[in-house]
């Protein structure tokens, strides 16, 4: 490799790094001009191509973001002229001005905020629009806001590159055909749409969180991608409690990434994890974000925070305990009780049962779990049966427990989990003499 070749590689790495930092903002700014995220991305890519052509010669400009944005804007204006959309755009601007005059004073003030921040927020809400499927929202968000390539997204979600490419193309087309406006929703719609955005970010996080050793390294990277998106959103919407709640939850869960698998990749349950391997920097960040969630909620008391903040508070209880034995189970029971009120579900109830079992003994927990057996949604949920098995073991009812573990094993699709369930069934004893 000659000196020139090395230089080329270095400059390309630098341009790549600049792109990772700037691309979302560029796409967002251009989308406001052309009113179409698909076109905006193409125009942004054109800017990147121009940079790749010019910067190796001229060097990276002092403000590369501004260079890319300016180049993109020229192309955007050209595009609009070519497509004779200029008049349409004037109509849209005219309507917007009228609407703004009608808007409340607070909204006008908000409209005068940092332009770049607003555009980025518009892009986030558009990529996460409910007209798209959950998968499409995730793929589009990772592409437009995460700056991931199609190949990276495919590897992260264990699918083919062509599948993701199609998914993204279709998503852009759906947004265009539905004429989804490039805007941040207001009022009651804002809360619902924000919930959708948080759902996308958490979906991405969970995809990374469930990655197992031996998987493509892009998968656990998803946790970091989701965390980054969450942190960005937290700065764009600093008064939204649930955004901080989600960030808190992700920071604390991510703190355990290094402790969740043994040396040969086998999963280690929370109670058995070596807490010295928990990342205390992330735990600290999680506590900080949780405090922000409480400060920005309607009242400082946890009763008024949303489900993400409550889940984060539960995770914080575990994070606070130096050993599993020191866990404040009574507090966790309380928090699950609050979670059951704001976001009731059989799974929350099951988790509450586990906590009740730790705080008050297995009999109390078994009563809750026995009722959950009636829930149709829980019939095929392997964890219900493994929790029941665990409680029965604690009550000395090993024979019954074995059946529950076997049932749990038959219901899980995960080979490692099945092994674990069958091992627990075996350990219940019981032989030909029973």
């Amino acid at each position: 490799m000659t000196a020139t070749d090395t230089h080329q590689t270095d400059i390309h790495k630098s341009i790549d790094a600049v792109w990772r930092i700037e691309s979302a903002r560029i796409i967002a700014g251009l989308a406001r001009i052309v009113r179409d995220v698909g076109i905006a991305e193409e125009l942004a890519q054109d800017s990147l191509v121009a940079a790749l052509q010019q910067w190796p010669e001229s060097g990276i400009p002092n403000n590369p973001g501004a260079w890319l944005m300016a180049t993109g804007k020229h192309r955007a204006i050209d595009y609009l002229r070519r497509n004779k959309r200029l008049e349409q755009k004037h109509e849209i601007i005219g309507r917007e001005l009228e609407e703004r005059q009608d808007a409340a004073a607070e909204e006008i003030e908000n409209a005068m905020d940092d332009d770049v921040g607003d555009d980025l927020l518009r892009l986030i809400f558009t990529a996460c629009h409910p007209v798209l499927s959950a998968e499409a929202r995730a793929a589009l968000t990772l592409r437009l806001l995460g700056g991931l390539t199609t190949d990276e997204i495919a590897r992260a979600f264990l699918t083919r590159e062509a599948t993701i490419a199609q998914r993204i193309v279709r998503a852009k087309r759906t947004l265009a055909e539905a004429e989804v406006p490039f805007e941040v929703p207001r009022g009651a719609e804002f809360t619902a749409r924000l919930s959708s955005v948080l759902g996308v970010i958490y979906l991405i996080f969970n995809e990374g969180y469930t990655a197992t050793a031996g998987d493509d390294w892009m998968r656990p990277e998803l946790c970091h991608d989701a965390l980054r998106l969450g942190r960005i959103l937290a700065e764009l919407t600093p008064n939204e409690s649930e955004v901080h709640g989600l960030v808190a939850l992700m920071e604390i869960q991510a703190s355990r990434l290094g402790a969740r698998a043994g040396a040969s990749g086998e999963p280690i349950l929370l109670f058995d994890q070596n807490r010295a391997l928990w990342d205390h920097l992330l735990i600290h960040r999680g506590f900080t974000a949780l405090a922000r969630a409480q400060r920005t909620a309607e009242s400082p008391f946890l009763q008024s925070v949303g489900p993400y903040a409550l889940q984060a508070a539960i995770a914080a209880c575990h994070a606070r305990a130096h050993t599993a034995a020191e866990t404040d189970w009574a507090r966790i029971v309380e928090l699950y009780g609050m979670l059951a009120e704001v976001a009731p579900s059989p799974i929350v109830e099951l988790n509450r049962a586990v906590a009740v079992g730790m705080a008050s003994g297995p009999q109390a927990a078994l009563e809750i779990v026995d009722e959950l057996r009636e829930e149709p949604a829980m019939q095929n949920y392997h964890l219900l049966w493994s929790v029941r098995g665990d409680l029965l073991v604690k009550l000395g009812r090993n024979e019954e427990a074995r059946g529950e573990f076997e049932r749990a094993g038959s219901l899980t699709e995960n080979a490692r989990e099945r092994e674990l369930m069958l091992a627990r069934a075996y350990n219940c004893g019981g032989d030909a003499n029973d």
Binding site: D10, K13, S14, D16, A17, V18, R20, I21, G117, H224, L227, R228, L229, G230, R231, I232, E235, L236, G258, A259, G262, A263, S264, E266, I268, D272, N274, A276, L277, L281, L282, R285
Partner: protein, 131 residues
């Protein structure tokens, strides 16, 4: 990937205890820190008191010796750090390049070790369970 960006301010090795940077420089740095925060890449940052307020421990055959600062032989000392989470060294370098550093300041970029990089025996020593 995590990187530390170590701020090495020339002259800090001789700074008296309680030395504070000038207000405009602090303001410029705070704007930079805000950029890192808004980009979602900042994990932590801190400023350090000058070496004149600190101490050094050296070792000889397992026996420690404590020396109070300042350390006349030291030509470069750390004044502060940022820890960031990014996808590549090039990205860390790009961020460091955007710092409003003075002519007298150097930023050194160092990747942070992750547990997964270590061979199995080291990981075991750190406490992971044996298979």
């Amino acid at each position: 990937m995590r990187f530390m960006m170590l701020m090495i301010p020339k002259g800090y090795e001789a700074a008296a205890p309680g030395t504070m940077p000038p207000a405009e420089h602090v303001a410029a740095m705070m704007k930079y820190n805000e950029q890192l925060t808004k980009a979602g890449v900042l994990l932590a940052l801190d400023g350090l008191h000058p070496p004149s307020a600190g101490a050094r421990v050296t070792f000889s055959g397992g026996k420690p010796t404590v020396t109070d600062g300042p350390f006349i032989e030291a030509k470069e000392v750390v004044g502060g750090y940022w820890m960031i989470q990014v996808k590549s060294k090039a990205e860390a370098i790009e961020w460091a390049s955007r710092c409003p550093g003075l002519d007298s300041e150097v930023i050194e970029i160092r990747q942070v070790h992750e547990m997964s990089e270590f061979p199995p025996d080291v990981q075991e020593a750190a406490g992971r369970l044996k298979p």
